[in-house]
C-alpha cells in the first residue's frame, strides 16, 4: 500500500486504530447510559479549550484536552441536578462550549482559519503530541474497560442497584466522565469536532443491533470501529475527501447494511418457525 509509505499516513493509521478500539467501547457505555450525545457535546467544549490555548499561546491540543475533561465532569455534576432530564446538561454544555469557542475565535481573525482542521479532522493534523496523547488515552482506556468491566457492567445496567449492592458508583461516574473527556479530545484530530461522535456512537449502535450478549457487543463495536477507521482513511487518501466525513459515511453505510441484514435474518427466522409450525400441524392431523 503506497499510502503507508508516508509518515503522516502511518501516524493516521496508528492514531485511528487506537481510537477505533476505545471509542466504540466508550460509545457502548454512553449509549447504555442514555448519553449518546455526550461525545458531540464534549467535542464542542473541547473546541473552546483549543481556542483558549491558541489565544494564550499555550499548546491548543493540551488545553482542548483539559477543557474536555473539565466539561465532562461538569456534565456529570449537572446530571445529578437534572436527574429526571438527563439530556438537559448535555444541551447546556453543548451550546455553552460552542458559544465560548466562537467568541474566543473572534478575538483572533487568523485563528478561525486554522480551525477547519479541528472542525472536520485532518490526517496531517496528527502531531507528535497528539499521537502520544492518543496512545496514553488508549492504554488508559484498555486498562479502564478491562480492569473495571464488572463494576462498569453493573453501573451501566442500573446505577441504583449497583450503588445498593456496594459498587462505588460515584467513583465510577467520576472516572467515566474523565475518560470520556480524554477520549473525545484524543479523537478530535482524526474525525474532527463535528463528527467525533460518529466514531464513538455509530459502531456501538451497530453492535447493539447485532450482539446477543455484552461481551459480543463490545467485540462487534471494536471490529466495526476499526474497519470504519481503516477503510475511511484509505478511501479518504485515494478520493481526496475529508477523513472524518469519510469515516462517518462508511460507518453509516455499515449501520444501514446491519439493519438490512438483521431484517432479512429476522424474516428468514420467522419463515423457518412458520414452516416448523405448519409441519407440526400437518403431522398432528395424520
Amino acid at each position: 500500500m503506497a499510502m503507508l509509505g508516508y509518515e503522516f499516513m502511518q501516524r493516521a493509521f496508528i492514531a485511528g486504530g487506537l481510537i477505533g478500539i476505545i471509542g466504540p467501547v466508550l460509545g457502548l457505555f454512553l449509549m447504555l447510559r442514555r448519553q449518546a450525545l455526550m461525545a458531540d457535546t464534549l467535542s464542542h467544549v473541547s473546541l473552546a479549550g483549543v481556542a483558549l490555548g491558541s489565544l494564550m499561546n499555550l499548546n491548543p491540543v493540551l488545553t482542548g484536552f483539559a477543557v474536555a475533561v473539565l466539561g465532562a465532569l461538569i456534565i456529570e455534576q449537572l446530571r445529578r441536578v437534572y436527574r429526571t432530564y438527563s439530556e438537559v446538561p448535555v444541551a447546556i454544555m453543548l451550546t455553552s462550549g460552542l458559544a465560548i469557542a466562537v467568541v474566543l475565535m473572534s478575538f483572533s481573525p487568523n485563528l478561525s482559519k486554522s480551525f477547519s482542521a479541528y472542525l472536520f479532522g485532518s490526517i496531517v493534523a496528527v502531531s507528535d503530541t497528539q499521537l502520544r496523547l492518543i496512545a496514553i488515552v488508549a492504554m488508559a482506556g484498555v486498562l479502564f474497560f478491562i480492569g473495571l468491566r464488572r463494576p462498569l457492567y453493573q453501573f451501566a445496567f442500573d446505577e441504583e442497584t449497583a450503588f445498593v449492592s456496594g459498587t462505588p458508583v460515584s467513583l465510577l461516574s467520576f472516572m467515566f466522565a474523565v475518560f470520556t473527556g480524554m477520549t473525545v479530545a484524543a479523537a478530535m484530530p482524526i474525525v474532527g469536532v463535528l463528527l467525533v461522535s460518529a466514531l464513538i456512537v455509530l459502531p456501538a449502535s451497530i453492535a447493539l443491533r447485532l450482539a446477543s450478549g455484552f461481551l459480543a457487543a463490545a467485540v462487534i463495536a471494536v471490529a466495526v470501529g476499526l474497519c470504519g477507521v481503516f477503510s475511511g482513511l484509505t478511501a479518504s487518501y485515494y478520493l481526496n475527501t475529508p477523513p472524518g466525513a469519510t469515516i462517518a459515511l462508511i460507518l453509516l453505510a455499515f449501520l444501514v447494511a446491519a439493519v438490512i441484514v438483521q431484517k432479512l435474518l429476522g424474516i428468514q427466522h420467522r419463515n423457518q418457525k412458520l414452516n416448523q409450525y405448519r409441519r407440526y400441524n400437518a403431522y398432528e392431523k395424520l
Binding site: L28, L32, G147, L148, R150, P151, Y153, Q154, A156, F157, D158, E160, T161, F163, V164, S165, G166, T167, A207, L208, A211, S212, G213, F214, L215, A216, A217
Partner: protein, 235 residues
C-alpha cells in the same frame, strides 16, 4: 439488631412533602412487608432507607457492617418499570452472574461455587431454561424473575424488593413468598418487601409497615404484626 433507623424524616417532591415525621426501625432477621395505596411513598421510603435519596429533615441510617464486623451485603430488586434497561445487550445468565461481582471483586475468577449459585438462583425463579435468551426478549414477569435471580445469586444478608410480584401470576407469587420466607426462617437473612398483596403475604411476614395518606391531608405510618391486627402499634 437494628438494620435501618429513620428518625423524624421528612421528604417530598417539588414543594410537597410525601413523607412526614417518619420514625421507624427495621430489624435484621425479620421478613418485613411495606404496604399502602398508590402514592403512599412506599418506594420513596425504601430509597430513603438505602441512602439513594437524602431526607429534607431528620436522619436515615442503614447499617453497613454486621455485629461481627462483616460487611453487610444488600440485594436490591427495584420496581421493574422504573429500572429495567431492556435495551441492554445482555443474556439472562450474564445479568444473573453480575450478582456475584461484588462478592468476587474486580479481578477474581468465577469458581465452581459461583456457577452453582447462579444456576441455583435461576432455577429457584424458574428461569434456567431461558438463560441464553437476550434480556430484552423477556416478558415483564420474566424480567422481574431474573432481577430476583440476580439478587439471590448475590447471597446477600438483606434482600430488599420493591413490588417484586408485578407481572407474576398467583402460583408464581406463592412460590416467591415461600422462597423468601425460607430465606428468613432457614438462613437467618432479612427480607424487606414493598407489596400491595397484604392478604396473600400475611402468613409469611413478621411485620407489616403500613403507609397511608389521611383523608384530611397528611401522612401516616403504622406498624403491625399481622395483616388483620389493628393499627395500634405506632411506628
Amino acid at each position: 439488631m437494628i438494620l435501618s433507623s429513620m428518625q423524624d424524616v421528612v421528604f417530598g417532591y417539588g414543594d410537597e412533602a410525601v413523607i412526614e415525621n417518619l420514625t421507624l426501625d427495621i430489624y435484621a432477621g425479620q421478613f418485613t412487608a411495606i404496604s399502602g395505596p398508590n402514592g403512599a411513598a412506599k418506594s420513596t421510603m425504601l430509597k430513603l432507607m438505602l441512602g439513594l435519596i437524602k431526607p429534607w429533615r431528620g436522619t436515615a441510617r442503614f447499617t453497613r457492617v454486621l455485629e461481627d464486623g462483616t460487611k453487610l451485603s444488600v440485594g436490591y430488586v427495584p420496581q421493574q418499570v422504573a429500572s429495567f434497561n431492556a435495551g441492554f445487550p445482555s443474556k439472562v445468565i450474564e445479568l444473573v452472574r453480575s450478582g456475584r461481582y461484588n462478592r468476587l471483586g474486580w479481578f477474581r475468577r468465577f469458581t465452581a461455587r459461583d456457577h452453582e449459585m447462579v444456576e441455583r438462583s435461576l432455577k429457584e425463579v424458574g428461569m434456567w431454561e431461558y438463560r441464553n435468551r437476550r434480556i430484552g426478549e423477556l416478558s415483564g414477569g420474566q424480567k422481574q424473575r431474573i432481577c430476583m435471580a440476580r439478587a439471590l445469586a448475590q447471597e446477600p444478608h438483606v434482600l430488599i424488593l420493591d413490588e417484586p410480584t408485578t407481572g407474576l401470576d398467583a402460583a408464581s407469587r406463592a412460590d416467591l413468598y415461600r422462597l423468601l420466607s425460607g430465606y428468613v426462617r432457614e438462613q437467618g437473612k432479612t427480607v424487606i418487601m414493598v407489596t400491595h398483596s397484604l392478604e396473600e403475604i400475611d402468613p409469611y411476614v413478621d411485620r407489616i409497615v403500613r403507609l397511608e395518606r389521611k383523608e384530611n391531608g397528611g401522612w401516616q405510618c403504622s406498624v403491625t404484626n399481622s395483616c388483620s391486627a389493628p393499627l395500634s402499634q405506632e411506628a
